[in-house]
């Protein structure tokens, strides 16, 4: 049904982003229609993915809440998930300082994950993609959603993909290929946190939640260790050092197999210390004895970074617009206490798929019809989980003790208390001016298990065609001058990828190092950086994150 003429291509359902949320949408839609019987032909479902291959821009821990698969996968498919271990031994530590820690003898109930599948989200995403393609969905990698197409009434009618083959001055190269328009009856936005089209949709249609979204930056490595069968399935979560008492930070170590350990650290981006260096914090975390002992004899084989939407219920936008739906992290659907979003992404996808199946059968893609998705979501277990922890995240910015109290309260009352919205400042306003005397010394020596940032970056596989316009736009260079004076150019430190460098009083940008995490856009105190889409196919190449 495509029409490869100059103007536009056509499909029935268009998903942007081949993450687990979009894939779950496609799976639920197609399987639901097939199971429902009936003679109506199946819709054409197309999923666009900006990275070169499915999973290349996907990153997570991950301990997967098996509720993710409810109503989506068969028991057999769950058995064949690409996971090598399930959570066995769980530990929970409070790290006091760089050497000491307190083991919490009792894992808080909300953190318990015994028996949960433990593995790589990249691999899970690829597995789901295979299932989707078997059902007939079409996944096209190397195509970014650059622009929403809207009709005169503001209804979303499709997407325009990004141009390719543009040189660094914005001119056409010999293989210049303009973006193509693809029209659809509904566009499902599964772009993940800080999605470009998602942001534009929310702004244009006034879909904002009660509070702006707030984020944490998660850095993660895959470490190959000498084989130890006994440890597969062992996990540990930590809080405390290297975060201070007013920053929501924590780390994890997961033995996902006999030979691979996932280690990661997430740092709330509403932190105030200007000198905080994300990669340095990550190395400090790994150097702590409670963590280091999980990594002995190991070697980093992969690295990556991504932001996590932690704003919770109050930051969730309206998820339905005329002609469009938002699923997954892009909609802020993440449990900010358990830091779990995979099951929410997949279940939101399932509900979206079911609503779309009904819409297809009724030939009705009006806003009212699409609303069924959001209504179902509000009645779902996910929503209940979000409501329960709606006020947990905010007080952590004031002090950890308040946060812990709020968490306990929320858990015991199912989120009923406190019933009002606790305030939370936007991430970019939290930074305090730099005090020159507090720059910490560099952490312990470079080693195979603690590489420097550039070496780590190499292991993210990130690569960009260097002859293209810089996709990181500094809106006002004048603000940089002030930022350097007041905050000491924190972009150098909050970027996990060494993109920004202060040299001779000027900020140099190595855009081809970018990991597409968008921390810079979130944390820049002047909101002076706009992250735009580089040429599709570029960016990290995560294969086992």
């Amino acid at each position: 049904m495509s029409h490869a003429a100059e103007n536009s291509l056509q499909t029935d359902i268009l998903c942007v982003g081949a993450g687990v949320a979009s894939l779950a949408t496609a799976l639920a839609l197609l399987r639901g229609l097939k199971a429902g019987g009936g003679d109506k032909p199946l819709p054409r479902v197309i999923i666009l993915e900006k990275s070169r291959a499915v999973g290349n821009h996907v990153l997570s821990g991950a301990v997967i809440d098996p509720a993710a698969f409810d109503g989506l996968l068969t028991a057999d498919e769950i058995k064949r998930l690409p996971v090598e271990a399930h959570v066995g031994k769980e530990a929970f530590h409070f790290l006091l300082d760089d050497r000491r820690s307190i083991g919490i003898p009792w894992v808080p109930p909300m953190m318990q994950a015994h028996g949960y599948p433990l593995g790589s989200l990249t691999k899970l995403t690829r597995y789901l993609a295979t299932l989707c393609e078997q059902e007939g969905a079409e996944i096209y990698c190397g195509f970014s959603g650059a622009e929403l197409l809207q009709d005169t009434h503001g209804r979303v009618i499709g997407v325009r993909t990004g141009d390719k083959g543009v040189d660094r001055d914005g001119g056409p190269k010999s293989n210049f290929t303009p973006g193509e328009e693809i029209r659809a009856r509904v566009v499902v936005l599964g772009e993940g946190a800080c999605g470009r089209l998602t942001g534009k949709l929310i702004e244009k249609h006034g879909l904002q939640g009660r509070r702006p979204q707030s984020y944490a930056l998660g850095l993660k490595e895959v470490i190959e260790v000498p084989a130890d069968e006994a440890r597969a399935g062992e996990i540990a979560h930590t809080f405390g050092y290297p975060s201070d008492l007013t920053t929501y930070g924590g780390g994890f170590v997961y033995h996902i197999s006999a030979t691979q350990v996932m280690v990661g650290y997430a740092y709330g981006l509403d932190y105030s210390r200007s000198e905080a260096d994300m990669h340095r914090l990550f190395r400090q975390f790994k150097a702590h004895p409670a963590i280091a002992r999980h990594l002995t004899g190991g070697k980093v084989v992969a690295y990556g970074a991504k932001v996590i939407p932690e704003g919770g219920l109050y930051a969730v936008p309206v998820l339905t617009a005329d002609g469009a739906l938002i699923v997954g992290d892009g909609g802020g659907l993440l449990d900010s206490l358990r830091i779990k979003g995979i099951h929410m992404a997949m279940q939101s996808g399932r509900l979206a798929g079911e609503a779309l199946a009904a819409a297809w059968l009724n030939d009705d893609f009006s806003r009212q019809s699409l609303q069924a998705y959001e209504d179902a979501l509000h009645r779902s277990v996910i929503w209940r989980q979000l409501r329960r922890v709606k006020n947990v995240r905010a007080p952590f910015s004031k002090h950890m003790a308040l946060g812990v109290m709020s968490a306990g309260c929320a858990w015991m009352t199912g989120g009923a208390l406190p019933w009002w919205m606790l305030p939370m400042e936007p991430d970019h306003t939290a930074l305090k001016p730099l005090r020159a005397d507090v720059m910490p010394p560099p952490p312990a020596g470079i080693s195979p298990v603690s590489p420097d940032r550039l070496t780590d970056l190499f292991m993210s596989g990130t690569i960009h065609d260097e002859d293209q316009p810089c996709h990181l736009k500094i809106l006002d260079r004048g603000k940089c001058v002030e930022c350097i004076k007041v905050y000491g150019a924190p972009c150098q430190r909050f970027c996990p990828a060494e993109v920004y460098r202060l040299e001779d009083g000027h900020i140099h940008i190595d855009f081809s190092n970018c990991l597409h995490c968008k921390t810079c856009e979130i944390k820049d105190p002047y909101r002076n950086i706009e992250w735009t889409l580089p040429q599709a196919g570029d960016g990290p190449r995560y294969t086992r994150m």
Partner: protein, 276 residues
């Protein structure tokens, strides 16, 4: 695939482009202890040189009208490189796949590919290869196929024009460019200095998705199994091992006494046959 009006009257040439799916070799490593390849995390890509060959074929198609057939020998998952070729504009794709083909060296590979080309169409005008595959790095299959087909061979082509059954090719030789002329049919290998490959359009992918890609094995190719795969390969890999690791050498302080350091460098350069 809709043809433009000019194509319908002008289709005269049939160009075969041979494409290989290869691991992204930048990331392939060998485990120095077990001497086995470590493929974890290594993705499969279209051999970069083959993209240039395909682009040459597509440019000829744009200019003169031609039928471009993409051909690949590999396991079933290699089919995706053919679809990518079709998404960029190739008219058909054929996958040569059979367990019997596995482990082939360049001789056995050339044999199988030549069998396929003989089957495809007696009127093949041009067979294009990338200069070499980035996993094997031998550059031998293009010449091998020219041998089995008994077509002339022109190598290291960076620019190509065709008119009236004759080609003119700029070839990159060691001492400069040789401009070579001859008649079709011909086998050519293409270098990276040739035209920049085009991107596949989304519309191209959407059309290629539903195209049928036939799979030909020993039977369909009327290939003799003893000449295929590992068994048909005159060369045998005896062992693979990690290249010697470069370790650091001597360290000198060139701050206090730079001249001593300079002398050491000059001496080393002498030993290498330079700087004398």
């Amino acid at each position: 695939m809709e043809l433009r009006a000019s194509d319908r009257t002008a289709i005269t040439m049939h160009i075969i482009v041979c494409i290989k799916q290869v691991p992204d070799t930048a990331n392939v490593r060998i485990n120095p202890e077990t001497n086995t390849l470590m493929r974890e995390g290594v993705e499969s890509i279209v051999n970069p040189f083959d993209e240039y060959a395909l682009e040459q074929a597509l440019q000829l198609k744009d200019r003169h009208g031609a039928r471009v057939t993409a051909l690949s020998m590999g396991p079933p998952q290699a089919e995706v490189v053919l679809r990518e070729a079709m998404a960029r504009g190739a008219d058909d794709g054929v996958l040569l796949t059979d367990r019997a083909f596995a482990g082939a060296d360049t001789w056995a590979t050339s044999y199988v590919i030549a069998q396929a080309i003989k089957k495809l169409n007696p009127q093949v005008d041009m067979v294009l290869f990338g200069k070499q595959a980035i996993d094997g790095d031998t550059a031998q299959v293009g010449p091998g196929v020219s041998e089995f087909l008994k077509f002339p061979l022109v190598t290291y082509v960076r620019a190509l024009t065709v008119a009236d059954g004759r080609y003119t090719a700029e070839t990159m030789m060691d001492e400069g460019i040789d401009v070579v002329e001859g008649s079709l049919p011909v086998v050519m290998t293409v270098v990276k200095e040739a035209a920049v490959p085009r991107f596949a359009r989304l519309g191209g992918w959407m059309d290629a998705k539903h195209a049928k890609i036939p799979r030909w094995g020993v039977k369909e190719l009327k290939a003799v199994p003893e000449l295929c795969g590992l068994g048909g390969s005159p060369t045998k890999v005896v062992k693979i091992f990690a290249p010697p690791v470069k370790a650091g050498g001597i360290r000198m302080d060139g701050r206090e006494l730079p001249s001593a350091a300079v002398q050491a460098v000059v001496k080393l350069l002498h030993e290498k046959g330079l700087a004398s």
